[in-house]
């Protein structure tokens, strides 16, 4: 693919701004508080947009577009069931403890509420997870740049992957090193608006092409255009999950485990300028989040609805017009303009074990951009894509440098240094975090679908976590020993469950079944959801059991950390419509309406 200079110019403007924000903020970074917590001075709406943008990384845009093309509108359950209720919960019930306790990070909250060892477990597992996620983002970006041939003719093809990794690493490093969390948050806001600006016209023109939502409904099987159809049984819906697994696994355990405990997102809310603002952050974020399926999932659906009669004038990517025409729209598995997966080394099409071509669903959104966008706006579309990769990476790096500096370095390595030293350490941790991400990016090659890989990491690290926080915040009897043993057993249960079960027809190994095969799940997703459910339940039961036989902490120490011992947030000065609860009700009402429309 060859881009014109106007496309490059638009991308260049973006990168100048990204680094420019870092430079502009450098002079405000005087204390570690400025660097790691943005001085707790950011308005709620800015934090709210950063809150979703930090999560809107590669796995989101590429993975959701891919899932949209593969499974249909049911993918929006990842947003509607899998995010909004948890975001409302964290804003209304949990944020007062996170913000009010003055903890500087989620692991630090665990130390305040429980003890040192519980914090250590969370800090270390979280640090590893962020580096992995950031590596996945980086890998996905480099792979995409390579597949699209963005640098074709500029850099020799065999170096494109490496150059993309190094370049993205340097840019993210640059702006976080200079401006810390504030810089990351500001850039996430830019990224949010660019993603909307880049994808909204794509969806609009795409919908026009396929005859609107009605046209899609007409072309695709009904299971792909209705979000709740066939959920009664795993074999009758495209995800291969029944509704119990979906509601409990995704809607409760995974989603609450992520949105309510993951420091990557909580850090954005902690940077807010007051407790009321902090509580509003996830609620404000929930509103655009709810509509994101239309920006990232719908293009996937459009991509498989476009028939070959609408051919582009010039050959895009590595496909020729003849190849487009050769891809018929089959009844059961429509693939529209989704290209066939090709081996990056030989250039040959990849075939499955039945000899059928494998479609590269991860290219759903990039192919849509190339198919519909003329020069000029194509630069904007690609900028939006690159912006989403950067935001995913930067979110992880800022969370990593904070947890490393406060919860690992300050807690176990150097307890009594000056604040300036910790600020310096934060900058060094940024370099270290980016370097480790690069390492992780080279490790991540065994997974076909980025979503699956991330869900696996989440299931094992995040799933048991929510039980610990739930009991910690809402049951004053929970003890440190209880939380620690529960967390360890929960993680162990997740590993064990993954080792004993296997999805569909996969071979034992990375997909599960590496201990023995006791149970077959209909899909990867079903396995992930149930892994999470098991981990959560084991953690819950073990924490309660151990807490009942160990000594709880005195109640006086738990004020501000446990629901029943903390005064309710003061809201007298707010009129009814300013209260977080009102916003929460609005968000939930919109969620129900959306589900009814696409049921």
């Amino acid at each position: 693919m060859t881009l014109s200079s106007i496309d490059w110019l638009i991308m260049l403007v973006y990168f100048v701004f990204v680094l420019g924000i870092g430079f502009a903020l450098k002079r405000y970074m005087r204390t570690s508080n400025d660097f790691f917590l943005a001085g707790r001075s950011i308005p709620a709406w800015v934090c709210g947009l950063a809150f979703i943008s930090a999560n809107l990384g590669a796995q989101e845009v590429i993975g959701m577009g891919a899932s949209g093309a593969k499974y249909g509108i049911v993918t929006s359950q990842f947003y509607w069931i899998g995010a909004i209720p948890a975001m409302v919960f964290v804003g209304i019930f949990m944020m007062p403890f996170y913000y009010g306790s003055k903890a500087r990070s989620v692991p630090e909250f665990l130390r305040l509420r429980f003890d040192e060892k519980t914090r250590a477990v969370n800090a270390f597992s979280f640090a590893i997870m962020t580096v992995l996620s950031s590596g996945i983002s980086m890998y996905a970006m480099a792979l995409l740049i390579q597949t699209l041939g963005l640098f074709h003719g500029i850099i020799p093809d065999q170096y494109v992957f490496h150059v993309s990794i190094i370049l993205s690493a340097l840019i993210v490093l640059g702006y976080i090193f200079l401006g810390g969390l504030t810089s990351a948050i500001y850039n996430e806001v830019l990224q949010f608006f660019l993603i909307v600006a880049g994808f909204a016209p794509l969806v609009w023109i795409g919908l026009r092409n396929v005859g609107g939502w009605q046209g899609i409904k007409h072309t695709l099987p009904a299971t792909m255009t209705q979000s709740w159809r066939g959920m009664a049984h795993a074999s009758t819906n495209t995800l291969g999950v029944e509704w119990v697994g979906l509601a409990m696994g995704l809607g409760f355990v995974l989603s609450f485990g992520y949105w309510c405990t993951d420091f990557l997102v909580i850090q954005r809310a902690m940077a807010a300028d007051s407790e009321i603002s902090a509580r509003r952050v996830p609620l404000i974020a929930a509103i655009p989040k709810m509509f994101f399926p239309f920006l990232v999932i719908l293009p996937g659906l459009i991509a498989i609805s476009v028939t070959s009669h609408m051919m582009p004038k010039s050959p895009a990517v590595s496909m020729t017009a003849a190849q487009y025409a050769a891809l018929p729209l089959s009844e059961q598995h429509p693939h529209g303009i989704i290209p066939v997966k090709t081996d990056p080394l030989s250039g040959q099409a990849v075939l499955d074990n039945k000899g059928n071509p494998v479609y590269n669903y991860d290219l759903a959104i990039p192919v849509m951009l190339l198919h519909f966008f003329p020069t000029g706006i194509l630069g904007l579309g690609l900028t939006a894509l690159l912006a989403s990769f950067m935001s995913g990476m930067a979110g992880n790096v800022t969370a990593f440098n904070t947890v490393w500096t406060y919860d690992i370095y300050q807690s176990y390595i150097n307890k009594k240094a000056s604040d300036q030293h910790y600020l310096w350490m934060g900058r060094m941790a940024t370099i270290g975090g980016v370097a480790l991400s690069v390492g992780a990016a080279y490790l991540v090659t065994n997974f076909n679908n980025i979503m699956d890989a991330l869900q696996l990491v989440f299931s094992i690290v995040n799933a048991p976590l929510f039980a610990t926080f739930l009991l910690g915040m809402f049951w004053k009897r929970t003890s440190g020993h209880g939380a620690f043993t529960g967390l360890i057993s929960g993680t162990f249960a997740a590993l064990l469950h993954h080792g004993l079960t296997i999805p569909g027809d996969s071979a034992p190994g990375i997909h599960g079944g590496w201990i023995a095969i006791l149970h077959h799940y209909p899909s990867d997703m079903a396995q992930n959801f149930w892994t999470a459910i098991f981990a959560f339940t084991v953690n819950l039961v073990v924490t309660i059991a151990v807490s009942l036989v160990t000594k709880p902490r005195p109640e006086s120490e738990l004020v501000g950390l446990v629901y029943s011992l903390t005064p309710k947030p003061v809201e007298h000065h707010l009129t009814w419509y300013q209260k977080p609860a009102t916003l929460a009700i609005v968000v939930l009402a919109m969620l129900i309406a959306l589900n009814l429309v696409f049921a």
């Binding site: 508080n33 830019l190 706006i377």
Partner: protein, 84 residues
């Protein structure tokens, strides 16, 4: 922080929107470019929309200084106020 995000946000939309609109204006008769987008000049229309959004953001950011927000002085401003 002392920098209002709406200013860089406004500026980037002004510049990118501006580039797209001008390019769209120059190429408005080039049918072969817009065959992909079904004959719609996305550069001109969307560029102008982005430009307008950028202008609004920039002007609002210029007018409403964060210093006017209710939480005043901000924690990081407490020591050296006279800068503004």
């Amino acid at each position: 922080m002392g920098l209002d995000i709406r200013i860089p946000l406004g500026l980037i939309f002004l510049i990118i929107g501006g580039i797209m609109a001008i390019y769209g204006l120059i190429t408005r008769h080039a049918a072969e470019i817009y065959a992909k987008s079904m004959g719609i000049n996305l550069n001109l229309t969307w560029g102008l929309l982005m430009f307008t959004f950028g202008l609004v953001m920039y002007l609002v950011g210029k007018r409403q200084k964060w210093q006017d927000d209710p939480v005043n002085p901000r924690p990081w401003e407490a020591n050296d106020r006279p800068q503004h």
